[in-house]
Symmetry: C2
Subunit: 416 residues, 2 copies
């Protein structure tokens, strides 16, 4: 009430989203109740009725009605038709006006940067990419990121005062709790989130690219209603997002998920981390490229050589060739799938997930991977946990990561 009476000012309208429900504060009781109603409506897939809302927030219908009407005149929630019922007077349905506030998801990868704005229903209202961006641990690269985001915000035409926050997925090791980044932009004195928050008028959160992909599956993808899940990010590198008890596991410092550095490899190739036997040396886009070159040198042939030199061929090319029937590409992909499957079988024993979702660039070769992964899993997984674990491939698509990054904002405000 106190803040919402003057709803000409956007900042004040957005204020109702910006505090967690249980947060202790000396705001009026009614305002807390209003925030509860708004959060409930935002979390709900479908619009709700007044009696439904009142039951959930434990309010009587008269007071609930009063608060809801105030929220309507504040332009925060809107009426949305009437509910079809079998008998009785039809109740009006209400939902949060999806265009009253926005959140931003940004993803910074080794190659490429992307930006997207989502409304409260998580519909993309604007997006922008730069495929030519190259991530470097330099001040000038950081400036480039800031400029890119500023330009994107300006092009999107959204009012920054209506932005609840920005979530950022960034390659490398990141402490999502403190906001520090350890591999990139680590020259800053303070947290990377603080640096960005200083540049923009809204709060900024970060996590690594794999975790952000996990959040996308958790909230919008195949893990939506499953409390325990794995989301594998298999591209040039590999990472694992673990969802346990319905929450993403980031660990004590945010480093959880380094599955590429578990000693599950069958050979003892030297890994970039300095150790031997890391799974990532055999299961990754990088490994696929290495294996391909090795096989060519050993005399194997491939249709890919018609287009490019062996050393120029990237893992995405090999995956594409595999789907097109190139037998060397298929056999190499198969092999990776089998080793991956054995590793996943062990992971199943450890954490008993209900579903494993394969995401990342390797999804393009899903027909070739699925059986090899499954047969690998059979080798190491125990009967009971294996039986109830589904293996599927991600279907959210290209904007998964930025959607997941934006979800960090909603999660932090308990709006999801």
């Amino acid at each position: 009430m106190q803040c919402l009476s003057k709803n000409n000012s956007n900042t004040l309208v957005v204020d109702i989203f910006l505090k967690k429900i249980e947060e202790v504060s000396n705001e009026s009781r009614q305002y807390t109740q209003k925030r509860k109603i708004v959060a409930l409506l935002n979390k709900s897939e479908k619009p709700l009725t007044i009696p439904g809302i009142c039951k959930k927030v434990k309010l009587s219908v008269p007071t609930g009605t009063k608060l809801i009407n105030e929220l309507i005149s504040d332009n925060i929630i809107i009426e949305f038709g009437k509910k079809e019922t079998d008998n009785g007077r039809r109740p009006s349905l209400y939902k949060v006006d999806p265009e009253i506030a926005y959140c931003i998801g940004t993803v910074v990868l080794l190659k490429g940067i992307s930006f997207a704005v989502y409304n409260l229903e998580m519909e993309e209202v604007f997006s922008m990419q730069d495929e030519n961006f190259i991530l470097e641990n330099t001040e000038s690269c950081l400036d480039e990121v800031v400029r890119f985001i500023q330009e994107a915000i300006s092009k999107s035409g959204i009012d920054p005062s209506r932005v609840l926050g920005m979530g950022m997925g960034i390659t490398g090791r990141v402490n999502s709790r403190t906001g520090f980044s350890y591999n990139y932009f680590n020259f800053l004195e303070g947290a990377l989130t603080d640096f960005f928050s200083g540049k923009f008028s809204f709060p900024v959160h970060i996590d690594n690219d794999t975790h952000v992909l996990g959040l996308a599956e958790q909230y919008f993808g195949e893990a939506k209603n499953i409390k325990n899940a794995f989301v594998l990010n298999l591209s040039r590198g590999m990472g694992l997002a673990i969802i346990a008890n319905g929450e993403l596991v980031v660990g004590e410092q945010g480093f959880a998920g380094e599955m590429g550095h578990i000693q599950f490899a069958e050979s003892d190739k030297l890994c970039l981390c300095g150790k031997r036997g890391c799974l990532g040396t055999e299961v990754s886009g990088y490994a696929l490229e290495q294996n391909f070159q090795q096989q060519i040198e050993a005399g194997e042939s491939s249709l890919l050589l018609n287009q490019k030199q062996a050393t120029q061929i990237k893992y995405k090319d090999i995956l594409k060739a595999a789907t097109e029937g190139d037998s060397l590409a298929i056999s190499l992909t198969h092999n990776i799938g089998f080793i991956l499957g054995k590793a996943m079988g062990n992971m199943i024993n450890l954490l008993n997930p209900g579903v494993i979702i394969i995401g990342g660039e390797f999804v393009s070769a899903k027909e070739i991977l699925i059986d090899s992964i499954k047969s690998g899993m059979m080798h190491t997984g125990l009967q009971l946990p294996l039986r109830s674990c589904e293996l599927i491939f991600s279907s959210i698509g290209d904007d998964a990561a930025s959607k997941g990054a934006a979800a960090i904002v909603f999660r932090s405000l308990q709006l999801i």
Copy 2:
């Protein structure tokens, strides 16, 4: 109020503990508030003042005072002296009467069964063991368990109507959500919890012995204030309790933690599960016994042979001999520690815990194990997560498991 006015009946007094706070119900608002106050006081380590309570449950001091006074006349909470402050009138302190209700923890192992009653401050008020018990998957064994518990309750002298529930830790695979046991007492048509609940007047929960040990460390031991931790149960077998985001991870069906069946072994001995390379074939009390016999057969000597024949020597004997300086025992224990350490290093990469707690019978050889585990961890763990992960040995003692089992009850009622 409605239930508590007649507090002669114990069942009605205990009623205030038996519902979760946020549970939707049509009880009076004041009663819900009372339950909030009781839960808050029970969770709090120290007694609280009226203003403190009112701030936490978001009530004004006058209404809070009224409810607290009612709870006092209902004999549920008690005054507990006055708080020392620097200035101002000294507030009275209040806490839940610890003897108003109890919970039971029972642990059923392959050899031995134990029972303990705890008051609301988790102090043991009664305990009973039967070391001669042998677990079998038979109806007569199940009867024996029931008889043992009935006898223990009767001997303890506690009023069953004051028992909030019983938590049971049982060896083998267990689905703690559904209450089904898959290895023992699996001949029942329904859930094992339903069977027990039918025998007693209070609800019964189960989980496996390793998870229960993890709960003990989480709530009362070394993991108390750490959100991400491992608790290893290293005895004749091995299991891992994983705590992530402040919650025990049991997985989708409750099977999480089968670390003994991850392919981290260096040899490819056949495991009882039918697979090869399982960590448990090299890191467990069973493996220690096997290795000992093998070494003796190969001509090694040990002080232990003065007491018993090689085939009669149990892993506990070997651990004891190691602490007493027997060089074969030390070298075998060391070796297990090193392999375990390498496995733990990988687990650290995966889940980035803040602490690893070694529990189980192997704790007796902690001086010998600690360095070998640490050096193993160095071999496989990544720098960043390794640096911030502490390795410690459990110090809760013998009743850890039953305390953890009892904690299931408190956890289910949000009293912890």
